[in-house]
Amino acid sequence: MKFTCNKDLIIKEISIAQEIISSRNSISILSNVLLEADGNTLTIRATDLKVGFETKIPVDSTHSGSTTVYCDKFLSILRSLPDGDIEFSYLDDNRLMIKPLFNKIDFKLKSINADKYPELQNISDDKYFQIPQKEFIDMISQTIFSVSDDETRYYMNGVYLEHENNTLSMVATDGRRLSFMKTPSNAENVTFDPVIIPTKILQLIRKLSTGEGNLSLAVNENNIFIKFNNQKLFSNLIKGQFPNYKRVIPETQEYTVEVQRVALIEALKRVSLLVEQKSRRIFITFLENTIILSSEESEIGIAKEEVSCSFIGPETTIALNYLYLVEPLRVIDDDTIIIKFTEANKAITLVPTTDKGYFHIVMPMQLD
């Protein structure tokens, strides 16, 4: 195997490979990245068996072939080299030589034979359906922060993806708050049972996405598959029973409050300075056309701020974990938002003023 490739081009892909490779201390074939030159295409593969990544980049190749090298060191070496083209060649003694052109530098990295490298999960092309990248990324952004990090509730450690009635929806919850977004899907002939997707793959998708054009998505019983132009990803799914989320979405809520999103975030940030940091409990009081945010009186002191809003209804105070307010407010993409509520111990809903297919539900805390 012998090929020449631009430094920046290959670093971009190898650094993604390194993110996927398991960071465990023991070194094995799974610590390696696979390189396969064929014609003028280099295929790069990385996997920790749960998540896998494959990409193809154009190179100048004189000899086809393949090998695997320790990804962590490979990446460090590439990063250390001067800008320009690099020549890679597989030597007879099982080593990969890395040599920047016109420089007197040469690295020889020990390799493991490519046929020892695990196969990546695969699915037939006809299972894929298309979805605009922007839509899909929005769905991830609107939900991923609500995922539970409590490993004992593993079935909430991912985002729930559902495809029914030509609608694709994502749901995430940690049992105290819930985020939901749906988008119309034109993949009429595609059916799959709802799945729970680990956050690692979703973050990777967010990273790889340009936000333009479509991406291709396929789901089977065990895995999710994503294709960009020349990049392919797969991930295992979380096996488990996602809670019956539809049951907890309030059908109707009594009152609505409309407020400037940024004004509310800024006020929350200030008042949260004096909020008790273990419970993160903040009090939000709705008065006629006014929201009062306040902290509890503590040894340190007390904070209070008024924000104007449009609201008509009875004075109501609700106690909430302020993070559960701030996090959705950060991602809601609108100048004004609507808070819907019924009473102090019932769920509140946060939505943008103009419907964008998503909402966030937060359960309150005890008032006293």
Binding site: D149, D150, E151, T152, R153, T173, G175, R176, R177, L178, P243, N244, V248, K278, S279, R281, A319, N321, N345, A347, I361, M363, P364, M365, Q366, L367, D368
Partner: protein, 383 residues
């Protein structure tokens, strides 16, 4: 309370009265004395003494096993009597509490009269004697209550604090431990009066910053505020020494389940929360190891403690050597009640927790509801 465990045995078994009663392990086994009656103390027996030693000192003693369940029952009864006297009660152990009686003189009369009434109520309802200390603060009240045991009543009036302190030994100051006592002796300080001649910086130089501050205040009868608020329990734990060393995993698992049940009961009883679970194992050769882990959320059920503890145990135990003791506990216990977050869904653990809370509250009222797999132990208890 005076010789609390032993006195309960004497009340429950009238034939034990006036005789040396030793609560703890059985002679011939290798446990220790948990408590003993005043009659036994005159033989030189004291708590934490190996049972074999106690037996050789006091062969005529009545050796009875610990009936914790019963002592807790009596403890709750006494604490309820305290509640009749004041809502401002700070329980500091199974048989000790501080009662803030500020402003109750119209209700009960002078402090001394109140104390007499309190002692009479306890005697009437439980047949036990208590020692009461009356003082302007908790430090002095505790010292006073220890001053004239058993059945004592000592009052330190405002203004006489220093005079009183000068009559007691250094080691009688509550909170002054053996190590500090030794340090002070090394500096030729053997009386409270001598202690008071030293200024704060000097004391802090000798015994450290907080130790020095404690001594400075305590020697002046000023409460250093050890129990000035809620009790800050850092950990709750329990351990079992096997009657014979064992490597039988089933019986070890059984003990772990029993300990988990005890710990969860105590957490629930006080409304405390903890995320950190630890275990302790001791091999035959006394090599002792601990392991701990922190969950992402406070433990909710006995099962959760048990499963976590078993996981730790399996990692720590070599699987072949015999064990002398296993212990289990929770640490970083949150005693301050955090406001409850309302949940969207109830998962199975939450449901189990609800059931368990109901069971525990029955148990707290004296019912013997327990896990079926722990029934043998209950039978042993009631023997």
């Amino acid at each position: 309370m005076d010789a609390f465990y032993a006195s309960i045995e004497q009340v429950d078994n009238p034939e034990y009265r006036g005789r040396p009663v030793i609560v703890g392990a059985q002679p011939g086994s290798r446990g220790v004395v948990s408590a003993c009656s005043y009659e036994a103390r005159s033989f030189g027996v004291h708590s934490a003494m190996p049972i074999s030693e106690a037996f050789s000192l006091c062969r005529s003693g009545i050796f009875v096993p610990v009936r914790m369940h019963r002592y807790q029952e009596v403890s709750r009864l006494i604490m309820r009597i305290f509640d009749d006297f004041t809502p401002l009660k700070f329980q500091i152990s199974i048989d000790e509490a501080f009662l803030d009686m500020t402003g109750t003189d119209k209700l009960f009369g002078t402090p001394k009269k109140t104390a007499e009434k309190l002692k009479a109520s306890i005697r009437e309802e439980t047949g036990l004697t208590a020692s009461v200390g009356i003082a302007p603060n908790r430090l002095l009240a505790k010292i006073a209550s220890d001053h004239n045991k058993p059945d004592g009543l000592v009052e330190i009036k405002k203004g006489t604090e220093i005079d009183f302190l000068d009559t007691i030994r250094l080691k009688d100051i509550w909170g002054l431990g053996k190590k500090t006592l030794k340090t002070l002796q090394d500096y030729n300080i053997t009386t409270v009066k001598q202690l008071r001649t030293l200024d704060l910086p000097t004391l802090q130089q000798l015994t450290g910053k907080s130790g020095g501050a404690f001594l400075y205040n305590a020697s002046r009868g000023i409460d250093p505020g050890m129990y000035s608020g809620e009790r800050k329990t850092k950990s709750i734990s329990s351990e079992t020494t096997f009657s014979t060393d064992t490597k039988d995993k089933e019986s070890i698992k059984h003990i772990l389940l029993d300990l988990s049940d005890q710990i969860m009961f105590r957490l629930t009883e006080h409304g405390y929360k903890s995320k950190t679970i630890f275990i302790k194992i001791r091999y035959t050769d006394f090599t002792t190891m601990t392991a701990q882990t922190t969950l992402p959320h406070p433990v909710r059920t006995t099962d959760e403690i048990f499963t976590t503890a078993l996981g730790l145990f399996e990692k720590k135990w070599d699987g072949v050597s015999s064990l002398r003791l296993v212990g289990l506990g929770v640490s970083s216990v949150e005693v301050k009640k955090l406001p409850d977050q309302i949940q969207l869904f109830m998962d199975t653990e939450d449901q189990k927790s609800k059931v368990e809370k109901a069971v525990f509250s029955l148990r707290a009222k004296g019912s013997r509801v327990t896990k079926a797999s722990l029934l043998n132990k209950e039978a042993r208890f009631n023997r």
